[in-house]
């Protein structure tokens, strides 16, 4: 059952049900991306919307919902009944893209490890520098100046049942920034996130699948649940193998 949020309706697993979505046509901002993301206004918030094919839409929602379960900072994700082909991601104010110097003074540096675990589990080889945002903090201190966000999961293989089942340890760093750190803290955080993934109960997995594959038949959804459960159970091994690949580059 939906529960009511402040300004929008929030479905199970924190998908925001957006109403009255309007494209922000006057903005000079042009967002880059293969799926031509655009800015939208909905519920007094700014959102980035993308029209995606079904598998990519599933991957985007799944990554957005699974990320927070693993400790990955991911903006809120939204869907809108009147734009069923689109997925919306809450705009992160004043973002810059990946920069190692910025990441080094992030208040959530460990998210770099959790991000690796997420990408390993969902098979996302598109963690390019544009998909890691660095947002300055409103109040900076002597040690922390910004916070990290992970966006854009639509290229993950987990959006397609066949690929989700057959991924094994094949996750590839792809366009992951070459200077992405693999220090002890990142390794530990990757391990911890993978351990959290393995502990996600089946009821939660069902909710994740229902939110990301809501248009599919119950039979297909059950298959997604089984495949995802298997994948999450193996997350520690998958994440470790992925981390080694990243460290060895």
């Amino acid at each position: 059952m939906p529960r009511t949020g402040d300004d929008q309706t929030t479905l199970d697993c924190s998908v925001v049900a957006l109403r009255d979505v309007a494209e922000l046509t006057t903005t000079p901002i042009r967002l880059e991306g293969a799926c031509k993301p655009k800015l939208y206004l909905a519920g007094g918030q700014l959102w980035v919307g993308k029209r995606l094919a079904a598998a990519r839409r599933r991957a985007e929602v799944l990554g957005s919902l699974l990320g927070p379960e693993l400790g990955v900072p991911v903006p809120r994700v939204g869907l809108c009944d009147s734009m069923p082909d689109s997925v919306f991601s809450e705009w992160v104010a004043t973002p810059a893209h990946w920069d190692l110097a910025g990441a080094g003074v992030a208040d959530n540096y460990e998210a770099l490890g959790a991000g690796l675990a997420l990408d390993a589990v969902i098979g996302n080889a598109d963690r390019n520098p544009r998909n890691i945002l660095i947002q300055p903090l409103e109040k900076q201190d002597k040690t922390h100046m910004c916070t990290l966000w992970f966006i854009d999961h639509e290229a993950a293989e987990a959006g397609e049942l066949r690929r989700l089942r057959g991924m094994g340890n094949s996750a590839h760093p792809g366009e992951l920034p070459g200077d992405y750190p693999t220090d002890f803290a990142v390794e530990q955080a990757c391990e911890a996130a993978a351990a959290r993934a393995a502990e996600i109960p089946e009821s939660r997995i069902r909710a994740l699948v229902a939110a990301s594959c809501g248009n599919e038949s119950p039979a297909i959804q059950n298959k997604f649940v089984d495949a995802l459960a298997e994948r999450l159970a193996a997350a520690p091994r998958i994440a470790e193998a992925y981390f080694r690949k990243v460290a060895a580059r």
Binding site: T27, P28, E32, L46, T94, A96, W98, P136, C146
Partner: protein
């Protein structure tokens, strides 16, 4: 004379407003690319958030290292854009000349203060036939033979027929919250003055007026009236309304004239 080229780097801190703020310029001259930066970036009030200020501060080193005239570094993110290519005549020390044009050095602005509330009130009274000899500034209880020399009202008129304490309220070209603050100040001062006079045993007839200078709204007058509700002898004058203005100045004249005749 050969020409140089430049492109402005714009920062768009708020995608909704879309306002562009020039934060650097790339100058291509004599086969080299140089980055021109302003001495100071705008503050949070201008950019809309401290995050935006912090972002500018954080990426300044990246901006100053730009060596590509065609593209900005990807790490700057979507809020930075390159403007069109513009030619500029190649003069001696073109960097300095262009920097001065793009980012003029602004001396710290002095706060411009308009006439004070009391002065504006006195000006209005004089322009409406109230002699400056009748109006006295800064009412203190000592002005009516009491002990305290603390100023408790902005100005007053005193005569054989009584005492009138007045508080001007400036409403034109001010925000609603500022006007409400001014009304509260004026009406509170009048109530306090009444209290002081009562406590000191002052028994002569007196009146209290909060007068809204022209440019105020009906709403402001209503707020002022409510603030003086149940305050005997107190009233609100809207100076922008001729009949109220005339009655007000006549009242002052009635109180003051016998005094000046003496």
């Amino acid at each position: 004379m050969t020409a140089a080229e430049y492109r402005v780097v714009h920062f768009i801190p708020n995608p909704v407003s879309g306002a562009r703020v020039p934060v650097a310029a790339l100058l291509r001259a004599e086969g080299r690319i140089r980055v021109l930066s302003p001495e100071h970036y705008p503050g949070a009030e201008c950019l809309g958030s401290s995050r935006a200020v912090n972002l500018l501060r954080a990426i300044r080193p990246q901006l100053e290292r730009i060596d590509d005239f065609g593209n900005l570094p990807e790490s700057l993110g979507p809020l930075f854009q390159l403007g069109h290519v513009q030619e500029v005549a190649m003069v001696q020390d073109v960097d300095t000349a262009l920097r001065r044009l793009l980012f003029p050095i602004v001396s710290k602005p002095k706060i411009q203060r308009g006439p004070q509330r009391a002065r504006q009130g006195a000006n209005w009274l004089e322009r409406n036939g109230v002699s400056s000899d009748w109006i006295r500034g800064g009412f203190r209880p000592a002005d009516v033979g009491l002990e305290s020399k603390v100023k408790i009202a902005t100005h007053f008129v005193k005569g054989n027929s009584g005492l009138l304490l007045m508080e001007p309220i400036v409403a034109a070209a001010r925000s609603r919250s500022d006007v409400l603050g001014a009304i509260e100040l004026a009406t509170t001062r009048l109530r306090s003055a009444d209290h002081v006079l009562n406590s000191a045993g002052f028994e002569r007839e007196r009146g209290f007026v909060a007068y809204l200078l022209p440019g105020s709204s009906e709403d402001a007058a209503d707020v002022a009236r409510r603030a003086l509700f149940n305050f005997e002898g107190a009233g609100v004058v809207e100076c922008g309304k001729p009949e109220q203005a005339v009655a007000f100045t006549s009242r002052i004249r009635q109180i003051a004239e016998p005094l000046t005749l003496n």
